[in-house]
Every structure is written in structure tokens, then in C-alpha cells.
């Protein structure tokens, strides 16, 4: 017998039917009067920063951020022909990408990198900025999973704040392996 058959038959032999129990009825999930405000508040609490901008002001907002972090190696989430080796990507100071939906309860932004290069840049760049549309902010994770198509995305992740660790004496350090800052432009 293959390990597959062994494991599955052992599981079948060990399984008991669940004694009939009432499935808890779906509670009413957490919602907010002003999801965008809640999103900004939670993002702040996890070490990120939300910046509300009008569509026309997005470019100036990004330019300001470039100056703020003093970046001269910046990439934008548009196809930029050619794939650089990771060592080059690792030199990036700022990476600006388009986010999908955002979640008010935990400041998570759904990001589906369009190319591999973009996926690693989201983690290797010193600073990351994401742009989301205000109207796409949902209240909670139940709504989030109902509105994204995680399966067909191939790879996608929720990003909530910059990378962090507290593995040395529980002292919070921002920028463990990934970016040291995360800015989310909330476009109204």
C-alpha cells in the first residue's frame, strides 16, 4: 500500500460521525460607521500609515513620499520590461503598488502581484506604498473573502502594516525581513 492509501484508510478507520449538533448560526459580523476611518486607525496601530488623497493628488502624494524616505531607486507597479535579478530588486528603496480591496477591521490590503518581480519587490524594498480605492474598503474578513477571488489569483496576500518581529525580548522591531514602512494611499 502506498503512504497515501495507508494514511487515508487509517483516517477512515478512526473517524466517528459528529454527534448531531446545532451549527451555530452566523452571527452578525462586526461593521463600522466609517470603515475608512477605522482602516486608518488600525493601520496606524500596526505601524503603518494611511494617507487620504483625491485621485488627482495621488501623484503628488507619491512624490512627497519619495522625498520623505529619500529614495532614488523607486519602482512603480507598471510593467517595466525586463526582469532584474533579485540582488537588484533588493537594492530598491521604495516600491509603489496597486492594492485590491482593503479591510477595516484589521487594516489588511489584498495584493495580487502581477509578476514575480513585483511579488519579491513587495518584500525586498526598503519601503512599500500601496494605493487602494476608498469605496473598496470592506468591514471584515468575511466580506473580504466573499469579494476577492483568492483561488484564481494564483498568489495573493493580505498585507497589514510593515514587516515586524518581537522575537528578541518581546521588543517590537519594524522591518524584520520585509519593508521598514508601509504607506497606504486611500484614494477617495
Amino acid at each position: 500500500m502506498s503512504d497515501r492509501d495507508i494514511v487515508l484508510s487509517r483516517i477512515r478507520a478512526a473517524t466517528r460521525p459528529v454527534s448531531s449538533r446545532d451549527t451555530p448560526s452566523a452571527a452578525s459580523w462586526l461593521t463600522f460607521d466609517d470603515p475608512a476611518a477605522r482602516f486608518a486607525e488600525v493601520l496606524e496601530s500596526v505601524g503603518g500609515r494611511a494617507v487620504a488623497v483625491a485621485p488627482a493628488a495621488l501623484t503628488t502624494g507619491v512624490e512627497q513620499l519619495v522625498r520623505d524616505v529619500g529614495a532614488d531607486r523607486v519602482w512603480f507597479d507598471v510593467a517595466q520590461g525586463g526582469i532584474e535579478p533579485p540582488a537588484v530588486v533588493a537594492e530598491l528603496q521604495l516600491y509603489v503598488a496597486r492594492g485590491g480591496i482593503a479591510v477595516a477591521e484589521n487594516a489588511a490590503v489584498w495584493v495580487v502581484p502581477q509578476t514575480i518581480r513585483h511579488r519579491e519587490a513587495l518584500l525586498l524594498a526598503e519601503h512599500v506604498a500601496l494605493a487602494v480605492e476608498r469605496r473598496t474598503i470592506v468591514h471584515n474578513m468575511h466580506e473580504a473573502y466573499a469579494s476577492i477571488d483568492a483561488a484564481t489569483a494564483g498568489f495573493g496576500f493580505f498585507i497589514s502594516g510593515p514587516s515586524k518581529t518581537a522575537d528578541i525580548e518581546q521588543a517590537l522591531v519594524i522591518g524584520a525581513h520585509g519593508p521598514r514602512s508601509l504607506t497606504v494611499f486611500v484614494v477617495t
Binding site: 466517528r16 462586526l30 518584500l123 473580504a144 498585507i159 518581529t165 525581513h177
Partner: protein, 456 residues
């Protein structure tokens, strides 16, 4: 050696033990605040427990669906009946591609299987990339906590370790600077890795996808750069659908560290373009646990660590005192169920306070199971002394006269020879005093006050 004896080693350093206790209690308080921020928290826990129960009731079916869907998305699914089969599969995958430099993100399963030493014996370099895991790997010791692997160490010790291994300045003990040094060290490892191994937080039957949660972003870097991704999961990691996943994602980080969600929650459906994704599904004793009606619910565990953080014994005795892959309340169930002889002292380390059961996001009946385990261990004859003691106790308790006589003798001895009484109560008096024994027993007090009453 028993849990108590190993705990003595940890508590010998009073300052460390006090710090450990306070640090973990703080994590527990953050968990409480996070739970309170969700009004439907208790309903979520009920729902999570229910999803797990229903999933376990058709586990084989869900795993087959997962395999089918993962395969149709281009992943390759492998099955391992035990730890050695798991290790062999991973080694063969790496060898076939000539990979010798491997990065790994946190996985308690690979810890359980002893994957690191196995691969090292075969000449491969395997680097744990979670900061805490890297620290304990460099120290050549197991993690002492399932979420905070290096919580037993002080920053000065990490400083010395990094000075020896990463060449940081002697005496440097600042967590920010030490983390920065580890970042540089691990970046190199990421950039040159030929394969990435990860654990799995959740596998989704309906879609064939995997979900991995980290704060550092190490699982993402470890899978975005090398061409080969090997994901190792226990059979219990499968959840039916993405809608079910939402429930667990809401509970996991809040229960673990009090964060609303981990910084990265990554969803892998199939390999990346041009890469390979291999998924190893491991049993290694889990199906036995599933067959144990009294303990099967322990399979619902999502490894959040909340029961460790809240446990008054874990906080004060440290993870290594359990000498089990998983310490704390859940580990005190998993280890003795697997090997009752070796881990027989663990269920007795419990105070039965029930705090673990109260915080568990999937509502495992932790302290009830620990109590049942004591009975099972004694019945199976793993603690002969205890069995004799309970026979003796039942003899005494059945005969009021014998009970009263023993009490009188014990009290007299206690007053005449306080040293002896202390020695008998030794484990209890190492850090607290023994109260003075009253002159009269409760029954004597009652009967004399009854006499007083009747005189009046």
C-alpha cells in the same frame, strides 16, 4: 526527569523566570484586548469549533478534495505516513534538483519530524528564517514556544550569540540593532537559496490552496525567490472553504499576539510561473489521535499559543521544562497521548485552573482532557506510586474511624516534628511557608461548639 525537576532548572534563575512570566502575561492581556474589540468573539469561537468538528468528521474526504484541487492547479501532493517518510520525501525532492541551500520558515511539523538534523546529516544547509527560530537554531536547542520560539532568552544572550555567529560587536544587546544584523545575515541566505520549505497554517479543500501567516515576511521571501517550494502540513490543517478560512484568520493572530491579523497572510494556489510547488501531507500519529474519542478534539488546534501564554505553569516553568515538541497545555495532551510512559508527568503539571480552555479559539476542552489523561496514565500503570497512593487514600476515606485516627497522628507529628512535615510537603514549601496546624480538627471543633450550644 519529571516536568517539576526540569522546571527547577528554569526557576533557579529567579529574574529570568519572573521576566518570562510577566512578558507572557502581557501577551495574554493583548489577546484579551483584541478579543474584546470583536463583539461577536464568542460566536466566532463556537463557529470555529464547529467547523473543525465537522471537518474532522469527514477528514479523508476533505483531504482528497484538497489533493484533487491542488493537483489541478499544478501542485504535486505527497503523502507521508510518518516522520521518516516525510523527511525522505523532502530530501529526495531537494536532491533531484541538486538543491543544497535551503531556507525554511516556521513549521512545528518539521520540528516534530526532526527535518533539520536529518537534512544536515545528508550534507544540506538548512536555515530557519524566522528570527526566533534562527536564534534557537544557532544555539542548537529546540524552540521553547510555538509562536515565540526564543522567549526563554534575554537580549544579552542573543547579543552574545550574534557576536559569535554573525560578528556583531561584543556587548551589543539592543533588539533593534540585533534584528538589523539578522536581517542582513538572512537576506544573503534568501538570495542564494535554491529551495524554500514552509509550514502551512491552513489548506483549503474547496480550492486546493495553502495559507501561511507570518509577521516577518519570511515565508513569502523564502518562496518568492527560489524555484522550488515545499510545503509541509499535518492532515489536520485542512479547512473546507475560503468562507471557513475567514473565521480562522480572524481568530488566529488575535489569539496569538493580540494583533488584528498577521502582517502577511499569503495564499498559494498552485506554483508560481516557472516554479514548482510540492505539498507533503503528514500523518505521523495524527490518525491515532483522531481515533481516541476522548482526545480527538486536540486535532482542532491552530497553534496560536494562547493556552501557553495564559498558563500559570507554562509562564513560570518555561517551554523547555516540558521536553516535548509542543509545550504548554496543548503539548501536555499531545505528547502523553503519543507516549504516556515518557511524558507521564505533564498532565500532573496542570493546576486545573481552566484558563487555557477559556482562551482557546477553537474551544478545545484542554483542562478536562488533562484530567482524563491522569486517570488514563494511572490506569495504564505508568505511575505505580500514584496508584498505591490512591488505593491508600480510598481506604482511609472509606473508614471514618481510621481517617480520624490518621489525622490525629499526623497533626501530633506535625507539631512535634515540623521539619518532617516540611520535608513531606517539600515541593509546596520551596517558595511558600506551611501554615501552623490547628490544635483541633474540624470535627473536634464542631463537636465542642455543639457541646457549648447544648450547655447554653
Amino acid at each position: 526527569m519529571s516536568h517539576g525537576e526540569r522546571a527547577d532548572r528554569f526557576t533557579a534563575d529567579r529574574a529570568r523566570a519572573a521576566w518570562h512570566d510577566a512578558a507572557l502575561w502581557h501577551v495574554r492581556e493583548r489577546r484579551d484586548a483584541a478579543a474584546r474589540s470583536v463583539p461577536e468573539w464568542e460566536a466566532l469561537r463556537d463557529l470555529a469549533a464547529d467547523i473543525k468538528a465537522r471537518t474532522l468528521a469527514n477528514l479523508a474526504g476533505h483531504l482528497e478534495a484538497f489533493e484533487r484541487n491542488a493537483t489541478s492547479r499544478g501542485a504535486v501532493v505527497h503523502w507521508a505516513a510518518d516522520a521518516s517518510a516525510h523527511n525522505r520525501i523532502v530530501l529526495e525532492l531537494l536532491r533531484a534538483r541538486g538543491a543544497t541551500r535551503v531556507v525554511k520558515s516556521k513549521s512545528m511539523l518539521t520540528e516534530e519530524c526532526g527535518l533539520n538534523p536529518f537534512l544536515e546529516r545528508h550534507g544540506l544547509e538548512i536555515v530557519d528564517t524566522d528570527l526566533g527560530e534562527r536564534i534557537v537554531q544557532l544555539r542548537d536547542e529546540p524552540p521553547s514556544h510555538i509562536v515565540l520560539p526564543a522567549i526563554h532568552l534575554r537580549k544579552e544572550e542573543v547579543g552574545e550569540l550574534f557576536h559569535a555567529h554573525l560578528g556583531t560587536e561584543a556587548g551589543l544587546a539592543d533588539p533593534t540593532l540585533l534584528t538589523a544584523a539578522a536581517r542582513v545575515h538572512l537576506r544573503e541566505k534568501f538570495l542564494h537559496a535554491e529551495a524554500g520549505i514552509t509550514g502551512v497554517n491552513f489548506a483549503i479543500a474547496e480550492t486546493g490552496g495553502l495559507v501561511i501567516c507570518t509577521n516577518e515576511g519570511n515565508a513569502d521571501l523564502g518562496t518568492a525567490l527560489p524555484p522550488l517550494h515545499i510545503a509541509c502540513m499535518g492532515i489536520e490543517k485542512v479547512v473546507p472553504s475560503l468562507a471557513d478560512l475567514a473565521v480562522f484568520v480572524r481568530l488566529l493572530a488575535r489569539s496569538a499576539t493580540g494583533q488584528p491579523i498577521t502582517a502577511y497572510t499569503s495564499h498559494f494556489h498552485g506554483p508560481r510561473p516557472g516554479g514548482e510547488l510540492h505539498i507533503v501531507i503528514v500523518d505521523n500519529g495524527r490518525s491515532d489521535l483522531l481515533g481516541r474519542a476522548e482526545h480527538a478534539r486536540a486535532l482542532a488546534c491552530i497553534r496560536c499559543g494562547a493556552c501557553l501564554n495564559t498558563c500559570p505553569v507554562y509562564r513560570r516553568s518555561g517551554g523547555h521544562s516540558y521536553e516535548a515538541v509542543i509545550p504548554g497545555p496543548i503539548g501536555s495532551i499531545l505528547a502523553p497521548v503519543r507516549d504516556p510512559e515518557r511524558h507521564r508527568s505533564l498532565p500532573y503539571a496542570c493546576t486545573m485552573c481552566g484558563s487555557c480552555t477559556n482562551v482557546c479559539p477553537v474551544k478545545i476542552d484542554l483542562h478536562d482532557q488533562l484530567l482524563r489523561l491522569r486517570t488514563e496514565i494511572v490506569t495504564a500503570g505508568h505511575l505505580p506510586g500514584r496508584r498505591r497512593a490512591s488505593r491508600l487514600a480510598s481506604l482511609l476515606l472509606r473508614s471514618p474511624a481510621l481517617y480520624a485516627a490518621t489525622g490525629r497522628v499526623a497533626r501530633r507529628l506535625g507539631r512535634l516534628l515540623p521539619g518532617l512535615a516540611k520535608r513531606i510537603a517539600a515541593p509546596w514549601t520551596s517558595s511558600r511557608g506551611l501554615p501552623d496546624l490547628p490544635k483541633k480538627t474540624f470535627r473536634e471543633q464542631i463537636s465542642s461548639s455543639e457541646k457549648d450550644l447544648s450547655h447554653r
